[in-house]
Amino acid sequence: MKIISNNSKTDKEDMRKIWEKIGDYFRANSIWMKWYCTGCGAIELPPTMTSRFDMERLGMGPMATPRQADVLLITGYLSSKTLRRIIYSYEQMQDPKYVVGFGSCTINGGIYYDSYATMKQLDNYLPVDLYIAGCMPRPEAVMNGFDTLISMIKKGEANGWKHYKENYDWYSRNQLHSLGEVYVKDEFHE
């Protein structure tokens, strides 16, 4: 098993070209999210968005489709059924794209750690750039997490999408292992 370490990429920061830096500046200041609200964590997002915490002031906002979104926000536990759909959605997003695991369930299964149908660890299947721990993480924690993500993007550290491409074999093997016979790319001909 291979865990992505964000720190391992820091030394590559200097290798970014100038337009990549500009691009990262834009991306950092305009984070559009696709919320994958399968778990209970989604309830914490409306307060994050509305007057009290107002995430729009950082240029963040929800988006309707993965094509438009930069961040895939997975708010809670994953089952084998939802995982397939999350992978599908992730692959429809445009590069550069980031994955944020939200709540304990995405980290280790949380209170569902002993369920046969729960995927315990998200980063076996998708390249998670950032985890926001908590059960639930409150809006303050969420905002804090996103602040971290913004600075990571600015520095060019949020490179999960590149990692996913580079290690696609490993990810797809894990995905297949958990989802059984179903092959992600071949979902249409299931």
Binding site: R27, E56, R67
Partner: protein
């Protein structure tokens, strides 16, 4: 028509982009304040557009790309027709019918591209957008016909010139209050703002026509949106608010009107599409006919 016209036209496009995008950003701030939020930076809209353009994208075939190019091209061509105060890139092309029909090229291009993606949400959104168009355009055009009959001109600058020099009360909005109300209601529909934004409806049909766009396509559609907003508001400013004797006057009027429309949209929920059609064919159309008949038969307010 020579090379200078085209250079002017290009400058005009750049200007409109900068101007309108800033206004949009400011309006996002206004809207946030309306909702007691802090709101994004005033240049947030620029960031969003450039970010979208910086990302990778997917395409669903040549029509998906071509539609976007045609849409943006058509809308930019229409923008070139719009006079900014006294400034015009080309003479004699600001005819209201040319503007409104050329605007349709952009709409058609976008609709084509959206449907070309093969996503049903996009087609549903397009069907709603076109239905919406049938609703708001007809009362507005009825009004325009009676104006053309009264003023014997159909160019935007011609309408504007006729109102200048008589102060605020010389504006058509005050001379023809019924028509003014109709025009503002129709403008709300043209802009696709609430309560007439059912064709976007992000939570219901996944932002309708935009559902498959990402990356450069999305960035171009943002540009398109800015330009078309500019065209639509400018038409009303020219016809009902006296245009502008100087570009600055025009820009001020423009900014105020756009903000006003935005504020209205901030307090409304959303109509279903058939409710929108019913509404437009009841109130604004009736008012437009009444105003038209007043203009044609009594000439009240014309001279």
């Amino acid at each position: 028509m020579n090379i200078m016209n085209f250079i002017y036209a290009f400058l005009l496009l750049v200007f409109v982009f900068l101007f309108q995008t800033s206004i949009t950003g400011i309006n996002r701030k206004v809207m946030a304040r309306l909702q007691r939020r802090r709101g994004p930076k005033w240049y947030q809209q620029f960031i969003d557009i450039f970010k979208a353009m910086s990302k990778s994208s997917t395409t669903h075939g040549w029509i998906f790309d071509f539609g976007v190019i045609m849409a943006l091209g058509g809308i930019m061509a229409t923008t070139i027709l719009i006079p900014i105060g006294p400034f015009k890139a080309f003479a004699d092309v600001d005819n209201i019918f040319i503007v409104s029909y050329l605007l349709a090229v952009g709409m058609l291009g976008m609709a084509m591209s959206a449907s070309g993606s093969g996503n049903p949400w996009a087609s549903i959104g397009v069907s709603r957008a076109l239905t919406n168009m049938l609703a708001y355009d007809v009362p507005f055009m009825v009004l325009i016909v009676s104006f053309i009959y009264a003023f014997k001109t159909s160019s935007l600058s011609g309408f504007a010139a006729l109102q200048q020099g008589a102060g605020i009360l010389g504006w058509n909005f005050f001379r023809f209050p019924l028509g003014g109300i109709v025009a503002l209601i129709c403008l709300q529909g043209m802009l696709g703002k609430k309560p007439f934004d059912s064709f976007i409806a992000p939570a219901e049909i996944a932002s309708g026509p935009m559902v498959e766009y990402g990356g450069r396509h999305l960035g171009m559609l943002f540009l398109l949106h800015e330009f078309s907003t500019f065209i639509e508001v400018s038409i009303i400013v020219h016809i009902f608010f006296g245009g502008g004797a100087t570009p600055l006057e025009f820009m001020v009027k423009y900014a105020l009107l756009y903000t006003f429309m935005n504020i209205i949209s901030g307090v409304f929920p959303r109509f279903k599409i058939d409710q929108a059609v019913k509404f437009y064919y009841k109130v604004p159309l009736a008012l437009a006919f009444i105003q038209g008949l007043i203009i044609i038969f009594t000439g009240l307010g014309v001279s």
